[in-house]
Point group: D3
C-alpha cells in the first residue's frame, strides 16, 4: 500500500542541501526535504553565555522560527505577539542540543556559534530538517575558522542528522509529510550521529500509546533514513571550497 505521495513506508522525500545561500553568514545551508524548506545560517560570536565564561570552552546554540506564510494558513509573527512561542523554544533547544552533542566544545575556545533556522516552507519535519541542514552550515563556519587558523581543526566528532517517523493508521512510516503528520497516532523525532549512535529520541503518543516493539521498529527505520541524509550532507560539504 502506497503512501499519500506515493512513497514506500521506508522512503525519504527528495532531499537537497545547498550551501552559501546567505552570503553574509559564516556558514549557511538551505535544506529541502520534499516541500519543507529551512534556511540555516551560522554566526560566530566571540562571547559565550555567562555560565561558561572563563572556562575556555565554547558553545553552540540555535534559534528557530517560521515565516508567517510557510504554512497553508498564515500564522501571526512571534515578534508581533511579543514572545517566542513554546513550540519554537522547544525546537531551538532540540536543535542546539543535537549540534552540541557532536561538537567538541573544548576545542572551540570561548566563542559561540549561533545557528539560525528559519522555515521558508513547512510541510512536516521542519525540526529534523533544521538539524540536518544546520550541521552543514555549522561545518562550513567551523571550516572557515580552521582555515584562517582561529581553531586548530574542525572540532566535530561526527556528523549529525535527523528525521521523523510516525505511526499512521497502524503503519510505521518514515519522514512524515504534513498531511501524514496530522493523522499520526504517535510520532517520533530521532537524531543520530555518523557513528550510528543516538543523540535525541523523542516519542510522543498523540492519541494511542505505543509499545517498546514499535519504538524498536521506529529506530531501525529512522536509522536507515538518516544514513541517506549523511550522504546528502557529505555531498554538500564536499562542494564547499573549504577542507
Amino acid at each position: 500500500m502506497k503512501r499519500i505521495d506515493g512513497r514506500n513506508f521506508d522512503e525519504l522525500r527528495p532531499v537537497t542541501i545547498a550551501t552559501g545561500v546567505q552570503g553574509f553568514a559564516e556558514g549557511s545551508a538551505l535544506v529541502e526535504v520534499g516541500q519543507t524548506r529551512v534556511l540555516c545560517a551560522v554566526t560566530v560570536d566571540d562571547k559565550v553565555p555567562p555560565f561558561l565564561r572563563g572556562g575556555g570552552t565554547g558553545w553552540v546554540t540555535a534559534e528557530y522560527a517560521m515565516l508567517p506564510r510557510a504554512t497553508p494558513t498564515r500564522s501571526i509573527r512571534e515578534a508581533a505577539q511579543g514572545r517566542v512561542s513554546g513550540r519554537s523554544q522547544e525546537i531551538q533547544r532540540l536543535v542546539g542540543r543535537s549540534l552540541r552533542a557532536v561538537t567538541d566544545l573544548t576545542q572551540l575556545g570561548e566563542r559561540s556559534l549561533i545557528v539560525d533556522c528559519d522555515v521558508l516552507q513547512a510541510d512536516g519535519g521542519t525540526r529534523t530538517a533544521a538539524i540536518t541542514g544546520a550541521y552543514v552550515a555549522l561545518y562550513q563556519a567551523l571550516a572557515g575558522l580552521a582555515m584562517v587558523g582561529v581553531i586548530a581543526g574542525i572540532p566535530l566528532k561526527s556528523a549529525v542528522a535527523a528525521t521523523s517517523v510516525g505511526v499512521v493508521q497502524g503503519r510505521i512510516l518514515l519522514d512524515l509529510c504534513y498531511e501524514e503528520d496530522c493523522k499520526a497516532e504517535a510520532d517520533f523525532n530521532v537524531a543520530m550521529t555518523g557513528k550510528g549512535e543516538l543523540v535525541e529520541v523523542q516519542g510522543t503518543a498523540e492519541n494511542k500509546p505505543f509499545s517498546r516493539e514499535t519504538l524498536e521498529t521506529v529506530l531501525a527505520l529512522a536509522g536507515g533514513g538518516i544514513k541517506q541524509l549523511f550522504q546528502v550532507q557529505q555531498e554538500a560539504i564536499e562542494k564547499l571550497n573549504v577542507r
Copy 2:
C-alpha cells in the same frame, strides 16, 4: 556500588502522594519523590480552546512553574521576567500530552481540565513527578464530575506515571536526584500507561551519544520504577472519598 544517596541502580526514591492539599481546587495532589515536591491542582473550566469549539470534545492542559527558592540558588520569577521560560513551556506541553494520552476526551464534553503543577522543592525529576501527581489530581477532579452526574463515568483509559533514567559515569540509574542529573551523560524521561505502553519517551545525550541497547535498558528500568508509582497512585486514589 552504591549511589550518592545509597540507593541501588534500580531503586526509586521514597514516593508519597497526598490528596486534597489545595482544598479550593476540584482535584489536588502533593507528590513527593525524595526531596522533590510538586503541588498539582486541577481546575474544571466550561470552555475548550478555540480549535475544539463545537466539536463536543474536551481538553486537558497543564501549566508548570517553580517557586523561586525551590532550588539551592534562587531563580527569578517568570512573571518578573515577563514571560514563561522555554523550559517551563516544554514541560507543561509534556505533562499535558501525557495526561491527554490516557483521557477519553470525547467523554469529557466541551470542557477543559487545567492542571497546575507548581514545584515547591526541586531535587531532580520535577517533570516526571508532575505527571505522576497530576494523574491523581486529575482522577479526583474527574471522579467529582462523575459523582454529580456531569459525566457518565471517569473517562480515564488507564493510569499514567513517569520517571527519569540517566547514564552516569557509564552506569544506567533509575530516578536521578539533582546531583546525579548534573553529571549524567544522557538522560531520559519516560511516561507509561498502566497497561505498560509508552506515551512519552525523551532521550537526550548531554555530552555522550547513546546506543539503541542503552535505550532498551533504560526502558526496562523505567518500566520497573513506574510500576511502583502506579501502586502509590492507586493507594492515594483509594483514600479519596470518591469512586
Copy 3:
C-alpha cells in the same frame, strides 16, 4: 452575635508557623492563618540594588504571588500574562517596607535579603499573613548569617507582625476571612512592632467612609491580635536550632 465561622469580633483564626519547609532556602516559614497558607522563603544575595551600592548598607525586599488555585476560582498566572499585577506589586512593596522597618540595614553589610511569599491557599489576609511569616523566615536567615560570623549579631530591632481588621455590617471585626472581607464596608491592614509601634496602617473605605473613632477602635483591635501573633512567631523561632 457570632461571626460566620463562630469567632468573637476580637478573635484571630488559628495561627501556626512552621519553619524549614523550603530546605534549600536560608530561611523559610509556612504560616497558616485559618485556611490561608503562605510559604515564605529568604534568600541571601551578596548584592544590593544600584541606589545603595558603595554605601555599606544592606537591603530587604519581598516578592509576592499566589498559586493559580490558591483561590476558589482559578486565576491566570502572572507569568502567562507577561507581567506582575498591580495588586501583587502593591503587596510586595508593603511586605518589604514592613520588614525593613525592623531591620538595622546598616548592620547587614552590602547584602540583600529577598523574601519570597507564595500563597498556597488564600482565604483572606494573605498580605498580613505574609508579613507575619516572613519575619520568622527572615529571623532564621539572619541567625544563620550571624552563626557563621558573617554579621556580628541578628540585626533586628524588634519583631513585626500584621493583621487585618474590617467593618462588616457596622461591626468592627479582627482578622477577616475571605467571606467577611467581600462584605466589608472598610478594611484595614496594620503592621506593628514588638514594641507596640506602628510600621504600616492602611485603611480603605470600600463603599462607606469611616470616622477617626472607627480607626481608633481598629488600631486597638489589631494591637490585641498582633500581640498573639508575636507569641506564635516567638515559639517558631525558639524551635529553630539557631540563636
Copy 4:
C-alpha cells in the same frame, strides 16, 4: 522653627485648580500644589469592566503617570520599559478607590469614568494632588452628563480631597514638598470626604515606627489642610458653566 520653604508646620503650599485645560475631555482640571502640577482628564465610556456587566452599576477608575522630566532627574518612560511600574499602579488604585468612595455608582448606569492623572511637574504629594484635582474634573464630567439628561443628577455623595503629612526630624508637618519627603521618618497620605470622614489612610514608617498618638496628630493636621482644599475645589466648580 520654619520649614525649608518658610511654611508653618500646619501650612499647605499655595493651591490652585484650573478647569477645562484639556478641552477635548468631558472634564479636566490642572491642579497646582506648590511646584507640583497634575493634569486630570475624565473620559466617559459606555462600558463597564466585565465583573460589573449586566448589574446596572457604573464604575470610576484612574490612571496615573509622570512625564519623564516632571522630576529633577529624567525617568524612563513606562511605555519604553514595556510596563506600568508598581508605584504607578499603586497610585492609580488609590485614586480610583478615593473617587469611588464618594460616587454613587448605582446612579451612574452601566458606564465608566476614566480619570487620567498626568504629572507635569513633581515636587512631592503628586498622588494626593491627583485626588484633589480629579474630584473637580470628575464633577465637571458628571455635571455634563446630568445637564444633557443622561443621568438624573450629579451622583456624588460628597467632595473628596487628600493631602500628605510627614514626620521630619521628629516634627509632624503638613503637605510635604519633595525635599522634606526625602528626609521623612514616616509619611502619611490621607483622603477625606467633605463630611469629615476618612476614605483612605496610609501611614508608612520609612525608618522609624510611629505611635498611635502620632497618627492622631497626623489625622488632625491632615483634616485641617483638606478643609482648605475643599474650598479651592468649590471655587473651581463654581466657575464651571455647569450646575
Copy 5:
C-alpha cells in the same frame, strides 16, 4: 566617475522577480535587487480591521522583518526582544500605504490582504525592494480571487514600485547599495505609480540639508529607475498563469 560597484550614477542594480516561491500563499514573489533579496507573500483574510467593519470596504496591510543573518552582523530577532522595532514598523506602514494607494479598496469587499515582506539578504534598499516585489505578489493574489469570481476584476488602479536615491559625496546616485547608503549625506525613498504619479516621497538629511533643486533631481532619477522596475514587474506578472 564610476560607483563602488562600477555602476553609473543613474543605473539600477540587476533586478529580478520570481513568483510562486512560497507555494502555500495566495501570492508570492522573491525580488532581488543586487544582493538584496526580499520574499513577499500575500494572505487573503476574510476580515477587516475594526475601524472598517460594516463599511463594505477592504484593506491591504504589510509586515516587514529581516532574518537575523540577512546582514553582515547578526541582529537579534525581534521576537526574542519581545517587540517589533521602530524601524520595522515604520517600513511596514510605508509598504502598506504604497500598496493601498494603487488598490481600489471599495472593489475588494470586506477582506484584508496581508503582505509579509521578509528580507533574506540585505544590501541596502530593502524597503523599496519590498514595495516592488509586494506589488507582484499582490497582483497574483488578486488575480486568483478574480479568477474564481470572488471579486469582479483585479482592483488595481496602477502598478507601484519604489527605489532609493542618495547624495554621496555631493553626487546624486540611483539605487544605493549598503556601502553607499552608509556614506550618504541625504537619502530618499520614492514610490511611484505606473502613471508617473508619486505615492510616497521620503527625504532625509543624514548630516547635510538638501536644497529643493536636489530634490527635483532626485525625483527625476528615481522616476527613470522606477520605469525599469515596472518592466520587470510586468514580465513577472505575464509569466503567471492568471489573467
Copy 6:
C-alpha cells in the same frame, strides 16, 4: 474660498512658544499651534549610545507620546499596552533626525540630549509642532551648557522648524488642523533649516497619488510658513536669560 476655521490656504494657525514650563529640565518649551499643544523638555545626559562611545561625538534623540485625552477620543496609554506604538516611534525618529541635522554633534562632546515631546492636546500637526518647539528647548539647554563653560559655544548650525501641508479636495493648504487632515488626499511634513534648506520631506498619498508639480507647490507653501515659525522661535529664545 475660506477654510474650515476661516484661514487662507497659506495661513498658519496662531503659534506661540513659552519657555521654562518644566522648570526641572535643562530646557523646556510649550508650543501651541492652534489647539495643538506640545510640551518639550530637554535632558542633558553624560552618556552616548553604545555605537558612539569613545568617538568624542555627542547625540540628540527624541521621545514622543500623547496624553490619553489629548484627543477627542481617549487613547489607551502605550505603557498599558506594554509597547511604544509604531506611530510614536516613527515620529520620535523624525524629531530626532531633524534636530541632529542642525546640531554640530562633534562640538557636543560625549553627551546626549534627550528631547521629550509630550502632546497635551492634539489638533493635527503634532509632529511638526514638536520639531518647532523642541528646537527652542534644545537651544535653552545648549545655551545653559555653554554659559557654564561645559561647551565652547552653542553648537547649532541653524534653526530648524517644521509644518504640514495637505491636499484637501484638490486645494493645497498650509498647516492642516485635524478636521482637514482627516479629509486630505495627500499630506506632507516638511522640516527646513533657517538657511532655507530641507532636512525632512515626507509626502504620502492617502488615497490619491500626487504629481511632482504638487510637491513643488507644497514645498513653496511650507517654506513660507516655516519662515514665520523661525520668527516665533527667535522671539522665544530672545526672552531667555541666556545668550
